[in-house]
């Protein structure tokens, strides 16, 4: 244990952690992780150009994930770091994957948008808007048939609300009474198009109700409200009453790292960023009598944890070129022939 950890342990031993404090700690981990991912990008250490941060949306990830249980499965959209972290992901392996390193969750082949860990029930992040949604119907079907008691949760953004696959999937989940929950993290923007520029029907949960699901919209400012609502919906889903939850929040930054948000005003951003679920929770904890100093120590330990993740990612090796042909097919199947090998074979003739 380092000094910070010893100090933290004393604090923890001295008093009982409140639920809110735990939710705060998880949200802070997401926030700090995302900030570090942003730095990784700025330093040119991330793999590729596609990075979508969930800063401002932490209450949705943490609130819903804290209502899930071990054995539950889930899929996420392209802005899913926070959800994965909230379900217990190892930040080192996440950061390494985002940096495209061999030590990452997917051996550097998936990256930010295709990160997954079957061991944690993460059936995959997805770079196609709505693409990961129907998989939870299949997972729900398997859970129902196997009577496992597990649920499967699809996380997606408001952009996916206008994708047909969502309605096909919700319809099947309702029709077959599946243990499934659909969670829309409504950060107000599908890339640069605001939700009210994408649809007239902005009461998103009403669409799910129309299909026979439980449907609720909740303000994401207060993580406790999100958690309580999600708990009710997951309890229902577990007994075969599928649900839909829309969590309203504000995407603090652009769609991806290169996006300077030309489609919205500075005033709007300033107002939007005031709706900060992390600071809101922090203020409430202080009102409960916890000192700033205690919270600073928590923040610092998280900062240290994420610094280590960055170090791990940067010091890891990229995958070898030969791994390119691995895992196209199952483990005992022949790998595809490399183009160069083929050319050499053809041109080797007399």
């Amino acid at each position: 244990m380092n000094m910070t950890e010893i100090k933290l342990k004393h604090i923890h031993d001295a008093r009982t952690n409140s639920r809110l404090e735990d939710l705060y700690r998880q949200m802070r981990r997401v926030r700090t992780f995302e900030e570090r991912v942003g730095e990784l990008f700025v330093r040119g250490q991330s793999a590729g150009s596609m990075l979508h941060l969930s800063i401002g949306e932490e209450s949705a990830a943490v609130g819903v994930c804290s209502a899930m249980k071990e054995g539950d499965s889930f899929t996420t959209h392209h802005r899913g770091h926070g959800i994965f972290l909230s379900r217990g992901a190892n930040p080192n392996l996440m950061m390494a994957e985002i940096a495209g390193k061999e030590t990452g969750y997917c051996k550097g082949k998936g990256g930010s948008m295709h990160i997954a860990d079957m061991g944690l029930g993460h059936l995959g992040a997805n770079a196609i808007v709505g693409g990961g949604i129907p998989a939870v119907v299949g997972a729900g079907l398997a859970a129902k048939r196997g009577k496992t008691g597990a649920i499967s949760v699809a996380f997606f953004g408001d952009g996916a609300m206008q994708q047909g696959i969502l309605y096909e999937s919700m319809n099947m989940a309702a029709l077959w009474d599946l243990p499934v929950l659909f969670v829309c993290i409504n950060n107000q923007y599908g890339m640069g198009t605001r939700i009210d520029q994408a649809t007239k029907a902005t009461n998103l949960h009403e669409r799910a109700i129309a299909l026979g699901l439980n449907g609720i919209s909740v303000d994401g400012l207060n993580v406790e409200t999100v958690q309580e609502t999600a708990q009710k919906l997951t309890d229902d889903a577990r007994v075969g009453k599928p649900g839909f939850l829309a969590v309203s929040c504000y995407r603090f930054f652009g769609h991806a790292r290169m996006d300077k948000s030309p489609y919205r005003s500075e005033e709007e951003e300033t107002e939007g960023r005031k709706r900060d679920p992390v600071l809101f929770a922090r203020d409430n904890i202080i009102k409960e009598g916890v000192s700033d100093e205690v919270l600073d120590i928590i923040d610092q330990s998280i900062s240290d944890e994420m610094d280590s993740a960055i170090d791990f990612a940067i010091s890891s090796s990229p995958p070898p070129l030969s791994s390119m042909f691995r895992d196209v097919y199952g483990p005992n199947e022949p790998e595809p022939e490399p183009v160069q090998t083929r050319i050499n074979r053809i041109l080797a003739r007399e």
Partner: protein, 324 residues
């Protein structure tokens, strides 16, 4: 020996596999109570119940997506896509999800689903219900592709598909469902991924698959009466592709015809032709010739329909010109 139709053989394969493996279930439009648009799953619901013959709404993308999630959760789904022409509806789930999940996630998990569908001309079904779209699948690494041309293969290739670790697209031909053959299903089949040499001859090699095998065999018999003997290769699976068998036979003969019902441009026949030209260059005495579907949509008119795909006569005449 027992006389079976292609349709019966497929049903028998599903039946036998479902008895042996409880994780197998069938999901799709009209697969249960209706028994499948072409009758392949008829009666299976009486034996296995609605839980294993899951009738769905008309939602092709979510049918495949649900099958993917189920396959990732320990089940072995057989998803039915009523017509291969609808594959465009499902191409995200098939091409971006099923085909890439193992790879993108670093080999953590596979998607062992079988997508049964049917394609091809022959029933005046028009431009949106008669196509041969196998090139879409063959062009997507991660997807296996089987296209049975015989009753025996309808059974065995489907059984084999249901043991594979990866997604298999299994394309039946609508004009083969009533094909009858005497088969002994207890005879050990060719291994998965191996082409069948259906006929040996020293004058020309004809490479084909699916229903065109029937046309090619008719052409080969007509050629034989004119003292032209053809080797006929039935590929059976297009991924994996058994190029070794093609190479071996082409090197013996030097003249090759590739026959496919799909439209000519950028089709499976094009890929086969390119490979044969590259890899068997020193053994070829003539250009590799493709006999394929015309580069236009398929009409409802039976005459236009038949005229837009290879016929036994055209195959025979083309082979003759190549040999002469």
């Amino acid at each position: 020996m027992v006389e079976l139709t292609y349709r019966d053989a497929l049903r028998q394969a599903l039946y036998d596999a479902m008895i042996e493996d409880e994780s197998i279930f069938i999901i799709g439009e009209e697969v249960g109570r209706y028994g499948g648009a072409y009758g392949v799953t008829k009666g299976l619901i009486d034996k296995f119940g609605p839980e294993r013959l899951l009738d769905t709404p008309i939602s092709e993308p979510a049918i495949i997506g649900t099958a993917i999630g189920a396959a990732m959760s320990g089940l072995r789904p057989v998803a039915e896509l009523m017509y291969v022409d609808f594959i465009g509806m499902t191409m995200d789930q098939l091409g971006n999800q099923a085909a890439k999940i193992r790879y993108m996630f670093g080999g953590q998990i596979g998607v062992p689903l079988v997508l049964r569908t049917q394609g091809g001309a022959g029933r005046s079904a028009g431009a949106q219900h008669s196509q041969s779209l196998e090139a879409f699948i063959m062009h997507t690494p991660g997807l296996r592709l089987a296209m049975p041309a015989t009753v025996s293969d309808a059974y065995h290739l489907l059984r084999q598909s249901l043991t594979k670790p990866d997604p298999v697209v299994f394309i039946e031909h609508k004009s083969l469902y009533s094909l009858k053959e005497d088969v002994d299903l207890s005879i050990e089949p060719l291994p998965w991924g191996k082409a069948a040499v259906r006929r040996h001859g020293s004058d020309i090699v004809i490479v084909t698959y699916s229903r065109q095998l029937q046309f090619v065999m008719q052409a080969a018999q007509a050629l034989s009466k004119q003292n032209i003997e053809a080797t006929v290769i039935d590929l059976r699976t297009l991924n994996p592709l058994d190029f070794d068998t093609i190479r071996k036979e082409v090197e013996k003969v030097g003249k090759v015809l590739v026959v496919s019902e799909a439209v000519l441009t950028s089709g499976v026949a094009s890929e086969l032709s390119a490979r044969i030209s590259e890899e068997c260059f020193d053994y070829l005495t003539d250009p590799v010739v493709r006999v394929a579907g015309e580069d236009c949509p398929i009409s409802v008119s039976a005459d236009l329909e038949a005229g837009s795909i290879p016929s036994p006569k055209v195959i025979e005449e083309t082979a003759k010109r190549l040999v002469m």
